[in-house]
Symmetry: C2
Amino acid sequence: MKVGILTIGNELTSGKTQDTNSSFIARQLNVPGWQVAAMMSVGDDENAIRGGLNYIMGISDAVIVTGGLGPTADDITTVAIASTFSLKLYTNEDVLRHIQGLFEKHRLKWTPNNAKQAVFPEGAETICNPIGTAWGFSLKRNGIIVAVIPGVPAEVRRMLPEGVIPLFRREFTEEAQYVESRTIKLFGIAEAGVDQALADVDLAGLGVNIGFYPNFPENHVVLIARHASEAEAKKKLKKAEGYVKERLRDYIFAYDRETLESLVASLLTERKLTLAVAESCTGGLITDRLTDIPGSSAFLERGVVTYSNVSKTELLGVPEQVLHEFGAVSEQTAILMAEGVRKIGKTDLGLAVTGIAGPTGGTEEKPVGTVFIALTDGKKTICHRSFYRWDRRRIKMVSSQSALMMLKRYLTGEMRDD
Amino acid sequence: MKVGILTIGNELTSGKTQDTNSSFIARQLNVPGWQVAAMMSVGDDENAIRGGLNYIMGISDAVIVTGGLGPTADDITTVAIASTFSLKLYTNEDVLRHIQGLFEKHRLKWTPNNAKQAVFPEGAETICNPIGTAWGFSLKRNGIIVAVIPGVPAEVRRMLPEGVIPLFRREFTEEAQYVESRTIKLFGIAEAGVDQALADVDLAGLGVNIGFYPNFPENHVVLIARHASEAEAKKKLKKAEGYVKERLRDYIFAYDRETLESLVASLLTERKLTLAVAESCTGGLITDRLTDIPGSSAFLERGVVTYSNVSKTELLGVPEQVLHEFGAVSEQTAILMAEGVRKIGKTDLGLAVTGIAGPTGGTEEKPVGTVFIALTDGKKTICHRSFYRWDRRRIKMVSSQSALMMLKRYLTGEMRDD
């Protein structure tokens, strides 16, 4: 089944308000396996509403309209829809009493324009609003259902699952499908590289959809399998996932809602390991990401942002002579930073990053974007040199990601000596 | 002039990604005074793109299309648009060389599917992508311009003002007006509060548009003045700005492209002051923000993320007894953290934050969301206690903002003793 979404409001077309309803509705429609034909936003304008509704109805089996059901003069959705279908308007006395009851309950002053919210096109079925005064309604025209609800996000979040989706299910019983999806998160490979690696896999033949979602510095691949049988949908998804894993194993770090930081946090917590972090060019971003995870105090003993040479010596014990001879951005310094922060923090692991985030400070030998990342467990220290051609913020982001990837590989035993 | 917006991508119609481009584009179009006829999102499907584009062209003078210009198989926007207008495709050798050059520069492995990004419909004018490989293009059909750019938000943010809007201005010269705009950034007041404070100001009467853009934890107010005379537009804007400043002075911290961190960085650099930061609940976010500013090494001597009690004692000299008696989250500890980090870092200023970001760890006396922020210059130390009812990430964000606000107020002499 194809569903069209029409959101109405000048606040949307002026860019003042971000339309969050459309993507919420789309996600909810994924569950029963319905597809979104198109999403459209128009202003509070009768011609624009009529034109948009006619277009969307032409490509959909059902339409969800949100917004423009308020009591003020600029809310004209009901009138515009009635005029689209040449229907008269009438006042629903039950809804009117309900709204008046709400006003009494909340001790609000009744003004006549509120009666407007009890007006519906003739033949419409009302949709209850459990938390507000703007009730919705539905109409059926040429086999297409049009469901109209208010645009307040909290009301959409109630009325869509409680009113609209049950209505659609009742009307479109034949199409129930199970939908299984899997998000695979990759790092260290560009979108085109992912595509290339999967070029020989016939996912379409398997009946599995694939989507690519770049999310700097990560790339996400989403697999979606649909089938009338839940077991069959799961089987198809598992097969598709196997193909992707076979070809992209080295780049995959997490699945679905898992993040790199949540994964590292779980691994450290499970294994009761403690961590100290020394950051230079990432400026605190690594500890910021780790401390986004509830319970991170269990493993994160300390972090230091050693932006000056003096702080590298004082807080990490990096000898002045090393800084002088090899530079603050060097393999030698990175290793001593990791070892120093671990030793002084008395933790199991020490992680360090030093680099040149730019835009200035680069040399021919060490251009802007040169980053050293070191990790130590007290027995062995590993250090990687990387080079990124991005702007300052993105060098910080990709460096923090590389550092957390190194830690993740160490914790899962994937770490290689190179 | 009426502009239609068509955003393309399965990630939009599946609800996986929130379409932020449409509202960004709508806000940008407000500046020259153009209106949005409709915004539509469709999936990566040739029929849906063709149908959507035809509909939007029927109600617009110009159309902006975003998304689906990547190198992967699911990116079909160029093909779909060429087929809509019955145009052949050709490879633009200049663009191809440019993309190949980028791959060499970034030392990325070239795969043949990347050549797809140099393919355009015949007769199209290319639109330069200054930060990526997906160039855009524009076409004119029946007097309607269609401009096509990639969907990556960072690229839209560059290519819209640099490529698309100048193109539209060139084609629609009759509407030339001087437009002056001002973004006023506020912190510590909700959107409804801003609206209430400005209720008595007749901006419409002055011919100035106002927009409210929440940007957690900030609120931005945008004033736009238009006039055939540049001097008149500037005069109207200045007057409107005066009204806003009069009523909201206490909450305003920056204007236009200035950010709180860039402002603090400029103030510290100008006054040649150095800073050391001690963070607990913000986990490094304060130094992460400060180090986003190029040249921050001039003032940021060090940051420490003292997540454990031991680290507060070792790195900041907070006595164990204070931690034991008053707790790690207390005014006493915050003050000693700020004073300690300043003294040990030998800096002019010391800034410290300690709090409970949750979701657990709260007590009746100090619930989740309790945060202490302290700032010292060695002569005087100030400490504020705040309480925020947000989730963990947002408690970190609003706490880092409050800490940087305290520093900004100190540096501009606005700081009050309370």
